[in-house]
């Protein structure tokens, strides 16, 4: 991923070959990440942001990114915090200590989902083969993150650049999601 919000954080898995590599479209597996589910009431937000190093977004469906950090709004009391794979322990500890007495829940979900990076001119078209969200830039600007449904699988879509999306699904759904994306992209190669 060349441009984009989280290019230092979400990177193609160097070991994996591309799932799809066409002129206008590529699908790459993303490298592992630290993912934490953070739940708390509003009063904890400031301290949480300070501890994490990036403020937690309060605007629905938005994200905040910083140096090797991203915080994604998932719900009014739910954020997904992203950090490099090897920082799981440290982020966890920083958060726990920074939050002090605020009631909260911090849960490791690093491995619950896999991510792929979908980019290219036809990325929106491809997403729309299975997702009913309007991905025009007005309706879904760069930085927007949303959980939704891709055909019969729940997914999360995060627009990190105009033509680049991070798509996450629970691990056991990823074959289905990436498989269908690759299959649907085939027609773009038709004469």
């Amino acid at each position: 991923m060349s441009d984009g919000l989280a290019s230092d954080l979400i990177t193609p898995d160097a070991g994996a070959s591309p799932l799809l590599n066409q002129n206008d479209l590529s699908i790459l597996k993303a490298s592992p990440l630290t993912r934490l589910s953070f739940r708390a009431r509003e009063t904890a937000l400031n301290d949480a942001g300070t501890a994490f190093g990036v403020p937690l977004p309060v605007k629905p469906l938005s994200s905040e990114t910083g140096d090797k950090r991203a915080a994604l709004w998932m719900g009014p009391d739910e954020w997904t915090l992203l950090a490099p794979e090897d920082e799981l322990q440290s982020v966890f500890e920083q958060m726990e200590s920074g939050l002090g007495a605020h009631p909260h829940a911090l849960v490791d979900i690093s491995e619950r989902s896999d991510a792929i990076i979908l980019s290219g001119k036809k990325a929106v078209w491809l997403l729309n083969t299975g997702i009913f969200i309007d991905f025009s830039l007005e309706a879904f600007p760069v930085g927007t993150v949303a959980r939704t449904v891709f055909h019969k699988s729940p997914v999360m879509v995060w627009r990190v650049a105009e033509e680049t999306f991070v798509v996450e699904a629970w691990v056991s759904f990823m074959d289905y999601v990436s498989g269908l994306l690759v299959q649907s992209a085939q027609e773009l190669e038709a004469a």
Partner: protein
Amino acid sequence: MSQPFRTEKGGRIDRSQQLTFTFDGEEMQGHQGDTLASALLANGVHLVGRSFKYHRPRGILTAGSEEPNALVGVYRNGDQTPNLRATQVELYQGLEAISQNRFPSLGFDVGAVNDRLSMFFPAGFYYKTFMWPKSFWDKVYEPVIRAAAGLGKPPKNPDHDHYGNLYAHCDVLVAGSGPAGLAAALAAAETGAKVLLCDEQAEFGGSLLTEANATIDGKAPADWVADAVAKLQAMDNVTLLSRTTAFGYFAHNYIALVERVTEHLPTPDPKLPRERLWQVRAKEVVIAAGSIERPMVFPENDRPGILLAEAGRTYLNRYGVKVGHKVVVATACDTAWQAAFDLADHGVEVAAIVEMRETPPESLMSIAKARGIRVEAGCIVTGTLGRKRIKSALLGRLMTSGQVASGGQVDCDALLMSGGWTPTVSLYSQSRGKVVWDADKGAYVPGKSVQKERSVGAAKGLYGLQATLEDGYAAGEEAAKAATGKSATITYATATGGEAGDGGTLGALPHDRNASRVKAFVDYQNDVTAKDVKLAVREGMQSIEHIKRYTTTGMATDQGRLSNMNALQIASGALERPMTDVGLTTFRLPYTPTTFGVFAGVARGDFFDPVRKTPSHDWVVDNGGVFEDVGQWKRTWYFPKNGEDMHAAVARECKTVRDSVGLFDASTLGKIEVVGPDSAEFLERMYTNPWKKLAPGRCRYGLLLNDAGFITDDGVIGRLAEDRFHVTTTTGGAPSVFATMEDYLQTEWPDLDVWITSTTEQYAVAAVQGPKAREVIAPFIEGVDLSNDAFPHMSVREATFCGVPCRLFRISFTGELGFEINVPRRHGKMMWETLAKEIEKHSGTTYGTETMHVLRAEKGYIIVGQDTDGTVTPQDAGMTWAIGKKKFDFVGKRGLERPDLVADNRKQFVGLLTKDPKVKLEEGAQITTAETPATGTPAEGHVTSSYYSPALDRSIALAVVKNGHALDGKTLYVPMPEGSIPVEVTGTVFYDKEGARINV
């Protein structure tokens, strides 16, 4: 001679491209740009099908998607697709089409005997007969009726094509691209709104492709269309979809379109989908679907060679085909005159214009006169002659008395007719709008919009080219404004010619023929005649809905688009009630028949439903394991070795676990992390059990009820810290338990400081069970003293497995010493492979769900969903111990107190042992007190689980039995077809009753 009915020049076909096709095996020629219908007509072929009931010869009636007669099968890749309309099938090189519903051939069809016997087959005849002798219905009558029914033959082979799907959003969706639709799209696009324009036809332009007698902005209509389309194509904010039918209008402006991507191509690229479903959420919709010409209902109005007038004109002007050499035009309205004029201008002999109106407009009369066309005003057609093609038309003169006098006979080889126009209100009606009767227009037109939608042009009964264009532009502007708030200065195109016409008729025409003999068709495909409609009324059917269902009018594949208005008028006449009182049947989706594959889309094979696999999956495949489907999961069922069958494999697995050790993949179990200061309080309220005193590091079995008091799920819950619990659920129950917890949390107890997170897929779980379990895991675990004292049964610890952090549970669903290791999912494969290798050293085994079931049954542990079925309470299940009696409340507590949940005679969970240890009961078998109960005897209960127990070397079973807890030692019976099986009621624990083996 090839294509004897092709005009010299003109039309939109590409004459330079000659195409060869076959119809019923006969080779013919056509051109690129033809439809199958136009090509057949060019070859002089009118007879293309047989009708549904009477097998009457039928020809091509229309030039559009409303065609009821010319249905054909088209072959591709060795299989045929039935019931395609020749009028919509685009010609390509090598197209193979066949006619349908005839035997042995189209020309000679034995089914045509039905036509001779038709006097015995009036509407609804089958309700009145075929009842005696009773046994004949299944064996004789019904099979014959069925064989006679149906149109084409279904495809024989699985469909090798694939289908696409696309979700789209737009500001303005325009359905239909005639003058109204194009103008609307142009206007809306000009404002910058996102526009999607679709038309079911191969080319945009609608009626403009037929119109030869008008200009728009000084151009020929077709040229204006080309320019307009080019302009739209160049705009980024416009999506143009030809061959795309808007077939469904759903709630909240959700429109379904089907795009036919490859059907018109001789050799499509297999990468392309055959068809694509578009699901469009439109802010505003413009329905520009045009109108449909109405047939006239006169005797024998169904002969091949009889077409709608505008269709005749379309074949001529658009496809360069003359429908005949000598044509009669029968009409009640102005527009058909133009067809006569156009034909005459192309050198076709117009034998007569038979005009129903006494005084047709002078302007038309003079044009006819100028061309020397005979006009019979105040005249109608009262019948036709010719067997497989019309030979002549019988004329009748309308008299003031209402009678009809014979008006002679005119020879012809084609007849064009027009009863006027019916606005296409299908999509509007689908949007749940109510049509209103417009007496001036003699038509139902759209009433108030109930969704964000507007109908324009002919679709709302507005005719005349200039007016249509204006209406379209205005609607496009308004729609864009409503959708985006934006507007622009739009220049409207101006038109000359194409004036709105007048006239029209509805219902059956009078005639001087023998009424009991002749048939005047209302619904062509279903062979419904005017007489049928009247008969229905005579029999007491007063609602149009009854008439429809009794006669089947409007139920054919054109869904009454041609027939409804005529049928309604005939019904109204017979009922002596105004049409508006009779009502209208409901327009439903799809607008035209739509391929199942389009709806199914990509959901097929492995993509039918996600296949959820656990990290051991590949290893299991490599090692010959057999899977079972549990919800979307693939779980290993058993591991046959050396040709074992399931029974042998399971027996070996069971024995090995009890003797040494077994490894089981428990990754699919639901996992929920409950975190926050109020965690214990929350679980206290959700589960029947008490949680507050559970110490960190310890686990407890949890039982979940619904508020009605019945068991819905269970699982082990470990306390990781004061404010953190690791909850497990059944595999199938995971989503609903999570949803239920969220529900109570968010809506009943929002004040609790606790949050739940699904961690089902965060962890891979390996269960290691058996006396040697500790030895097996010990080499890999660090950070925990595994000894029984330090880490007793029902404990949990954070540790590492091969250096990977893990949650280690000491729990058992087998009754043996057992551990469950949760590692982050990514390491699941490593864990599995490590342990699989390790257990081999201890002569252990991997085992699947079946062995797990047997082992737990030997211990009397329930499986929710198998031993319970939503009607079982904790008391019934013998699990009162799991209820925290001192608790103020928990989900289900109050439900449990209801009268029938505490009544006697409830079915209770017990063990059963067959008197003969070799006999294994069938799961689901019923239990009775009598050895040979009379049929209808209520069962005392049923067998919920039953297995051969290797540990006991005998069969065991679990069951629910009325008052079972009091029946210990009693004999009951399981009556089977082969004889009754005596069983003894026992406790539910069969093996290691003291539970010593788990505490080692």
